[in-house]
Symmetry: C2
Subunit: 135 residues, 2 copies
DNA sequence: CGTTACATTTACGTAAACGTCAAGCTCTGT
DNA sequence: ACAGAGCTTGACGTTTACGTAAATGTAACG
């Protein structure tokens, strides 16, 4: 209800995930909702993180990788060396993403080529079918 | 040795897979090498199929999807409708891949932006560190 | 006060695609 | 004949990201 705090149910609807997922992410320290009694209340920070988590997942990052990358987004009182390591990690991920990107690019053009050939074959099949039905 | 028949070891080297993988694919009915005694001998047909399997995997098809596609391909020489369906499936997959590609593209630029900011932050941290050590 | 409706924790289950033993054939070389 | 290499078939292990069920708690409704 509140703009500031959301229940688990509200979160689920807003982000199209299950409660199990949110609890699971909490157990993995990706989220850290506050507790009112034993119920969870998700903050704006949790929502921001969840958004990033889901985006990370869409292109194949593991939750563990995402957890490490999330540190990049909340850099208040980090130690310098720690922060440097985080940035290095992000660079590695970026390199991997770019590799994936290239692979995907070539896979797409390969598949496109296959499709063109497949359609040509299909045309041949139709043609011979119509010939034999005309005979 | 023979161009016609290959042992499991030769197959592994030729395609850069492990024996376990080939046996696994056989158990999933993706391959069906002939047996000489208890050893496997892979035919030209197996090689063609394996090539398709590996390509399918690069496109992101699951083994189960690949199995179905191979089956359709097998019968599909005669059946026009099934071949059409195969092509439809490939088109869907292509669309999905293109969506992934776009997401990856934007994710990359986002991460790059984050890195730029992260490095700026890092510079600030170093600066304040040197100031405080100078004080 | 009882029922209904969610919430919670704990813990085992699942699917994909193999990896990794274990234990036993079989062929080769010496 | 014996060692070693390589092949075989189970069968259990691994990882990731949750699903699902059981037992229990809590809060509001009527």
């Amino acid at each position: 209800m509140n703009d500031e705090l959301m229940t688990i149910r509200e979160m689920c609807e807003a982000f199209e995930v299950t409660p199990r997922t949110l609890r699971f992410y909490e157990s993995k320290e990706l989220l850290s909702p506050i507790r009112e009694g034993q119920k969870r209340l998700f903050t704006r920070r949790d929502r921001a993180r969840l958004k990033l988590i889901l985006r990370g997942k869409r292109f194949g990052f593991s939750l563990e990788e995402i957890r490490q990358l999330l540190d990049l987004y909340h850099v208040g009182d980090q130690q310098l060396t720690q922060y440097t390591r985080t940035i290095e990690l992000a660079r590695k991920r970026l390199a991997e993403m770019e590799r994936q990107h290239e692979e995907l690019t070539s896979a797409i053009s390969e598949l496109k080529a296959q499709l063109v050939e497949g359609e040509r074959e299909l045309a041949r099949m139709r043609k011979s079918a119509s010939v034999s039905s005309a005979a």
